[in-house]
């Protein structure tokens, strides 16, 4: 059974480098348990690097990542795989591997020599396929799917792993608008109804504001600011993090901040300077 209190993933004084190129130095972060957190930041700001470090794919040069106080590098990797799942940014399945084969592999941390395909494996995989609307494509080779279908197959694999903490690196890239919303709604369902902790990287600030309980803004390997979207997202912050001028208004649907970039060819008109009128 799942413990009542969700496990907490935490980075303490984390430093990560590729070879002798240091990317992250002295970073502290708590992944809020039971919440949805979104990492935002420009390209190459170290978002994937941070997420990969949290999932022990990179060994820290200094500091550590702890799960409930225990260093993840000291834990048995299989045990960790039952608690923390990760979807990397652009994974590639071998040519010819079918969706069901791929998603089935997500069950690996729960399987053993004498338990290769239990009822719960079958149930969880079917459910994951259903949630990502991939049931009809289950027998198709992954490399013959469209970019969005492929992305959903990988998300299904991460769901099949059935972990308390789910780290997703740009789960909505390649997806059309409908499927972006579908995936984000799905993430929200997982969080709200099943108490899963989610940390994901998103490029769309407005989606980040809508779906996140907590936003982490990164720049050059550092955390510039973090907090709930409503308090955090200001035109100044967007300018600092992305170097983009913008107006921040209120999203008429969700009431969360809505970022409208300005660009060089437009100037904000009067109406947009003020919070969006809600009638």
């Amino acid at each position: 059974m799942r413990p009542e209190i969700a496990p907490t993933l935490r980075a303490e004084g984390l430093a990560v480098s590729y070879g002798d190129r240091s990317i992250i130095t002295d970073l502290d972060l708590v992944v809020p348990p039971g919440k949805i957190s979104v990492i935002v930041g420009a390209n190459a700001s170290g978002k994937s690097t941070l997420l990969r470090s949290l999932a022990r794919l990179l060994s820290p040069a200094a500091g550590q990542v702890c799960l409930d106080g225990e260093s993840i590098h000291a834990m048995p990797t299989r045990e960790l795989a039952r608690m923390v799942g990760l979807l990397p940014q652009s994974p590639v399945a071998p040519e010819g591997m079918t969706v069901i084969d791929l998603v089935g592999r997500g069950r690996a941390p729960h399987q053993s020599w004498w338990r290769q395909w239990s009822h719960s494996d079958e149930e969880t995989v079917r459910h994951a396929l259903e949630l990502t609307s991939m049931l009809d494509l289950a027998e198709r080779p992954v490399d013959e799917l469209s970019g969005g279908q492929r992305q959903r197959a990988w998300i299904a694999m991460a769901l099949a792993q059935d972990t308390d903490i789910l780290l997703l690196d740009e789960p909505t890239t390649f997806l059309d608008m409908a499927h972006q919303i579908e995936v984000l709604d799905l993430v929200m369902d997982l969080n709200r109804t099943r108490g899963r902790t989610v940390m994901m990287v998103l490029h769309d600030l407005n989606q980040a504001c809508r779906y996140a309980d907590h936003i982490v803004a990164m720049k050059s390997g550092r955390i510039v600011a973090q907090g709930p979207p409503a308090d955090l997202l200001t035109a100044e912050l967007v300018d600092e993090v992305f170097d983009v001028r913008c107006c921040v208004v209120t999203d008429p649907v969700s009431g969360t901040p809505l970022v409208i970039p300005i660009g060089r060819h437009h100037e904000p008109r009067n109406v947009a300077r003020h919070p969006f009128p809600i009638h």
Binding site: R78, L86, A108
Partner: protein, 353 residues
């Protein structure tokens, strides 16, 4: 609750008994059985065939120790070692090829293409010609050569992430370096030595003896068990090292362990018979097509390898009457054609294999 429960799904059947469960793929099972029967048949024909033909029935009886003394002698002392070495080497080449092709996701990255066989051959030839390490024996030398080459390739190509192409390119380079080294050694050798070495390099079962069988059998048994134990990690490493780690594979241990096991398999086999070219490349690919899998299946690859080696040996013995043609000539010709076919196919898909 039913004691034994079967659930059918497309292409597979889940079998559950209490808390235990397994997945059976009927087509895989059927192909493996078929290959096992074919290999057993080739094995029996190999025993029955020769200057002193023995009917198949007598072969089978002799295997159980029944028959006249002459038959028993011919089978047990002359032909059994040859057939057993063929069976074991074929299996070793097939499994090793499947491991490399799966790890690199590239059919061209099989041990005979990326220089493991040549590396192991160079070590053995160097010992034969230069006369050092005689106390070590060919097995140990071949093993050393193959593993050293594997470590070299791993160091040069693998570290920066697994791309099949890099490994193939580095491997081909190393393979040619080993081949030139071997040629240089051949030039240095005297006529008689050169003749011996050449036979061995082409790959031949002609000298197979019980001395070769025992260490080879142990090697295949131990390494085969290792492969089965590691195969659960192999399935996940197929998804790349990142996903494999996230799914709980100790990649830093699993990947080198798989490479060393595969290299050891091919090295032991090479030490026993010389590099029988193309078996490690073709067997997994044939097995993959027979089973309809998306990647080379391990057991079926081993069985296909055994069948290919025994079958090629039968052809090699018959093709020029009265001459024992080295088996490598046959597998070379057959494998060359297969490679061409694979390359044209890969180019058409545009994936380069």
């Amino acid at each position: 609750m039913a004691l034994l429960e079967l659930t059918r799904q497309p292409g597979r059947i889940a079998v559950r008994l209490g808390p235990t469960s397994a997945v059976i793929r009927p087509r895989m099972l059927a192909v493996c059985l078929g290959l096992a029967v074919a290999s057993a048949l080739a094995f029996a024909v190999e025993l029955s065939f020769g200057d002193y033909p023995i009917p198949l029935l007598d072969v089978v009886r002799a295997l159980f120790g029944v028959g006249d003394r002459a038959t028993l002698f011919v089978i047990e002392e002359l032909r059994l070692p040859r057939a057993l070495v063929g069976l074991l080497v074929g299996c070793a080449f097939g499994v090793s090829g499947a491991l490399f092709q799966t790890l690199t996701r590239n059919p061209l990255a099989s041990p005979d293409m990326i220089g493991l066989s040549s590396g192991s051959a160079t070590a053995v030839v160097a010992a034969m010609v230069l006369g050092f390490g005689a106390g070590l024996g060919t097995q140990a030398l071949g093993l050393f050569g193959g593993i050293a080459t594997a470590v070299l390739i791993y160091g040069l190509a693998w570290k920066g992430g697994t791309t099949g192409y890099r490994i193939v390119l580095v491997g081909i380079g190393i393979s040619w370096m080993c081949t030139s080294l071997t040629s240089y050694l051949l030039v240095k050798a005297d006529m008689w030595e050169a003749q011996q070495v050449l036979r061995w390099i082409i790959g031949s079962l002609n000298g197979a003896d019980w001395v070769h069988v025992t260490p080879l059998a142990w090697a295949v048994l131990v390494l085969g068990i290792a492969v089965l134990l590691l195969s659960r990690w192999l399935r996940l490493l197929q998804l790349g090292t990142d996903v494999a780690t996230a799914l709980g594979v100790p990649v830093r241990f699993a990947q080198p362990a798989l490479i060393v096991t595969a290299a050891a398999l091919v090295s032991f086999a090479t030490a026993a018979t010389g590099p029988i070219v193309f078996v490690a490349l073709t067997a997994p690919q044939i097995a993959q097509r027979l089973t309809g899998c998306a990647w080379p299946p391990l057991v079926a690859s081993g069985l296909t390898g055994s069948f290919l080696v025994l079958g090629s040996d039968l052809i090699a013995q018959r093709v020029i009457p009265g001459t024992l043609l080295p088996i490598g000539v046959v597998t070379g010709a057959f494998g060359g054609l297969f490679l061409l076919w694979l390359l044209t196919r890969a180019n058409r898909v545009g994936s380069g294999g």
